[in-house]
Symmetry: none
Subunit: 121 residues, 2 copies
């Protein structure tokens, strides 16, 4: 019985594989490179022989650009809003520092736009 999954660990390994293959179309080695994890760790996660630690869960979610809630099976939605838009394509590759820099840059641009709209129009 039980089709595919019923406990969180099983859900996780399926979600991880789905996200890697179907969403991001990566090999395990590629995902490993983007997360900075050894490839064997990715394999262990998908095999269900290990569950990721706090830090590694974050790395996986960042690299795959999905919510941790999706990976944990707490949400059906892979990603909040993101994804289809090309602007999100490289986000997952950024370090935290550069991620903040990009966020600041976009906030700056957003303010510029707002200002122009105000003066001009």
């Amino acid at each position: 019985m039980t089709t595919t999954s019923d406990n969180p660990s099983d859900i996780f390994k399926e979600r991880l594989r789905t996200a890697r293959e179907e969403l991001r179309k990566l090999s395990q080695a590629e995902l490993a490179r983007e997360t900075g994890l050894p490839p064997s760790s990715v394999a262990h996660f998908e095999a269900g022989t290990r569950k990721p630690s706090f830090d590694n869960l974050r790395k996986l979610a960042n690299a795959l650009n999905v919510t941790t809630d999706y990976l944990l099976g707490r949400s059906e939605d892979p990603a909040g809003a993101a994804e289809a838009d090309p602007i999100y394509r490289d986000v997952h590759k950024l370090t935290d520092k550069n991620r903040k820099m990009a966020a600041d840059f976009m906030r700056f641009l957003a303010q510029q736009d707002e200002k122009e709209r105000g003066e001009d129009e």
Copy 2:
């Protein structure tokens, strides 16, 4: 430096305490009871001396009724359908032109990161 927090573990302990006190108004012991964890574990999490495992992170998020992304600092929204990241917050305000510029900027940063490849995340 930097005000309060910049690494994920620091964010987590602050989010956890905030969620427990302000959102759910629970004592550590009450939260412990609802999660089935020993009270000392909750104390350790908020002190930052331990980081929760896969399973315990889920229990905390369930008991507090928040997203794991919020606890991990990947989303500002406690209950949010999750805009995954602060980095996404201003995107929708951008004009098409600036949106492209932001995308280019992020691609540039991503290439830089890839080249350096010493840090993670």
